[in-house]
């Protein structure tokens, strides 16, 4: 069995094992962490197989494409699965100390792995309707994770999260149906071929339906309102994996369809993406400025960072797409890490409210350092990973070889300004939580958390911070992958030939 199939089977098997051991907390936690570790191994092997640019294809039931459903792993999919596995492992370890026994008994680990099952499936499928099914697997598990525990704020967030995501799914489904009606196929490679012979205006109309569907999941302007209303309500481990992964699955889907299928009327479709990217960056960062809840502030920053990724996709040059891919994996690591840290400060200081936290630099310099790394990376300070991600996207905007001329420059300037405001937000957290003296009666007490739990909370954070440093100090190595993946994405023929076997 090859790594591609294993990447989907591992989370499924783990989830089932967790369901079988619902009564035993220890067994569930063991399976929960071990399953993620195995997934990480599988993802590394998959990366080794597709890392040199080969595209792996698995045909369900050996039906030839485009008649059967195919699983396809290209470089982008490989990278995404690998980063997902890294975050999954970090969150699974963190969860041992963070998620309470009641939630574990109700199947927390099982649903975490069912969600990973959906996420990996979504990255690896080569069939647009199959992508819808994977999205649903991921969403239903995420609904459960969001509402598991049933606390009042959670339920308030869950109602909004579930409703808006279901509306987005119905758009996605309608788009699939209409696309099938027009082309008579659902295989993405075959769609890419058929789309070239369609009337561009009809194709663009369908593209807009997909833009709404994926845009809602990716939380781009003006479809992002569910995100800051819900991401700060579940346990920290859950918000961390949501913040890191779920919106990025939406971005991945956007990248996939807008590089493979909808590439006819690029001036309109990608022009629209360009405008939306600008608004997404600005509204996200402005929304964050007035927030004083740690996780709500970070939630708004997810939105603004999504803007950068969409900007790279919209500019549609090799450098820009490479920037998007680099941004994707940098952002998943950094953002999940910041959420995990917000959980630790809440455990030590008893609150997510920035005004009620303080004095952490004096109390735990190590945690301050661990926060400083991802926070400055998010703000784009060299030599951390965020700097190189922003650098690539902004440079692509200024390069002048895009189809948008002066507008690309405008957007690049906007991106720089938003970067500055992001840095401002991060220094706000730094000043409020770490720098200022603790408010009366709210001094942080690391001692409140038993040492074993403290280790479980800090270890994943430290590992992710180390990864951020590694990406920052050796960007060439990581950027090389991003650049080659962009090359693949911009030459759909490679993908099409791999899937359809060069018969066309």
């Amino acid at each position: 069995m090859n790594a591609l199939t294993l990447a989907i089977l591992t989370p499924l098997v783990t989830a089932v094992l967790c369901l079988f051991s619902l009564r035993s907390l220890t067994l569930q936690r063991f399976f929960g962490v071990a399953g993620m570790a195995v997934l990480l191994g599988v993802a590394l092997r998959l990366m080794a197989e597709v890392g040199d640019g080969t595209i792996e294809v698995v045909r369900f039931g050996n039906w030839p494409a485009p008649f059967g459903i195919v699983l396809v792993a290209d470089l982008l999919a490989g990278i995404m699965v690998l980063v997902s596995a890294i975050i999954g492992l970090a969150v699974a370890i963190y969860s041992i100390a963070d998620v309470d026994a009641r939630r574990v008994r109700f199947g927390y680990y099982a649903f975490l792995h069912f969600m990973m099952f959906g996420v990996c499936g979504a990255f690896l499928t080569g069939d647009i309707f199959n992508l819808f099914v994977w999205f649903e697997v991921m969403l239903i598990s995420s609904f459960v994770l969001m509402s598991l525990g049933g606390e009042k704020p959670q339920m308030e967030g869950a109602v909004k999260y579930v409703t808006l995501n279901l509306i987005s799914s119905s758009f996605f489904l309608a788009a699939c149906g209409i696309l099938y009606g027009q082309t008579g196929t659902l295989n993405m490679a075959d769609l890419a071929l058929t789309a070239r012979e369609m009337r561009p205006e009809l194709l663009t109309m369908t593209a807009m339906l997909f833009l709404v569907a994926f845009g809602l999941k990716a939380a781009i302007f003006p479809l992002f309102f569910w995100l800051p209303a819900s991401y700060h309500t579940p346990p920290v481990a859950v918000s961390a994996i949501f913040a890191g992964l779920l919106t990025k699955v939406g971005v991945y889907a956007l990248v996939r369809v807008f590089t493979l299928i909808f590439t006819e009327d690029v001036l309109f479709t990608h022009g629209l993406l360009l405008v939306l990217a600008g608004f997404t960056m600005v509204t996200g960062v402005l929304g964050a400025m007035v927030q004083f809840d740690f996780r709500r502030l970070l939630s708004f920053h997810i939105i603004s960072q999504i803007g950068y990724m969409v900007l790279g996709l919209a500019l549609f040059t090799p450098l820009a797409i490479a920037g998007t891919v680099f941004y994707l994996f940098h952002h998943i690591v950094v953002k999940a890490n910041l959420f995990l840290i917000s959980g630790i400060t809440a455990r030590y200081g008893g609150s997510f409210d920035l005004k009620k936290l303080g004095g952490f630099y004096a109390a735990t310099p190590l945690l301050a350092l661990l926060f400083f790394i991802p926070a400055m990376s998010l703000g784009g300070i060299p030599p951390l990973s965020g700097f190189f991600a922003k650098f690539a996207v902004v440079k692509a905007g200024l390069a002048g070889d895009t189809m948008f001329g002066g507008w690309a420059t405008v957007l690049a300037v906007v991106a720089l300004a938003v970067g500055l405001l992001t840095l401002f937000s991060m220094t706000k957290i730094w000043a409020e939580v770490f720098w200022k003296p603790a408010p009366e009666g709210h001094a942080p007490h690391p001692g409140n958390v038993p040492p074993a739990e403290r280790f479980l909370l800090l270890a994943p954070v430290a590992a992710l911070a180390a990864l951020t440093l590694a990406i920052g100090f050796f960007p060439q190595y990581f950027f090389d992958f991003a650049a080659r993946s962009a090359e693949q994405l911009l030459q759909p023929e490679i993908y099409i030939n791999a899937v359809l076997g060069g018969t066309n």
Binding site: E136, I140, V144, S147, Q154, E156, T163, L173
Partner: protein
């Protein structure tokens, strides 16, 4: 026939969005249910309507007759129905729990977590 179905789909969409814009949580759920039905009909119609033949391969033949309906949209709809059924069941349970936890079914009152 397409015309009639198009009108029906339009009415279903309109009703669904009207319900989604109401404040009562139960109405919103009914809206989601209607929306999934509208989408199913949309797939059915967009997939092309053909009179006559069920998509079975007749005895002695090796391929579908040209007059038979396309089976794929039907398969898509079947999958979509199963998924939307499961999701709807979950949503109802979730709303019940939300009602217990928050004591309201008015979405305008679900603002507790939005205060800064």
């Amino acid at each position: 026939m397409e015309f009639l179905l198009a009108i029906t789909i339009g009415v279903l969409y309109a009703a669904a969005f009207y319900l989604l814009l109401r404040r009562g949580v139960v109405r919103i759920i009914l809206g989601i249910a209607l929306l999934s039905q509208a989408v199913n009909l949309l797939i059915f119609t967009a997939g092309g309507l053909r009179e006559g033949g069920v998509p079975f391969i007749a005895e002695g033949q090796t391929a579908l007759a040209a007059t038979s309906a396309d089976p794929l949209p039907q398969a898509l709809i079947l999958t979509a129905i199963v998924i939307s059924f499961g999701v709807l069941a979950f949503t109802l349970a979730m709303v019940h729990r939300a009602d217990q936890a928050t004591g309201t079914d008015d979405v305008d009152d679900l603002k507790g977590t939005d205060q800064t």
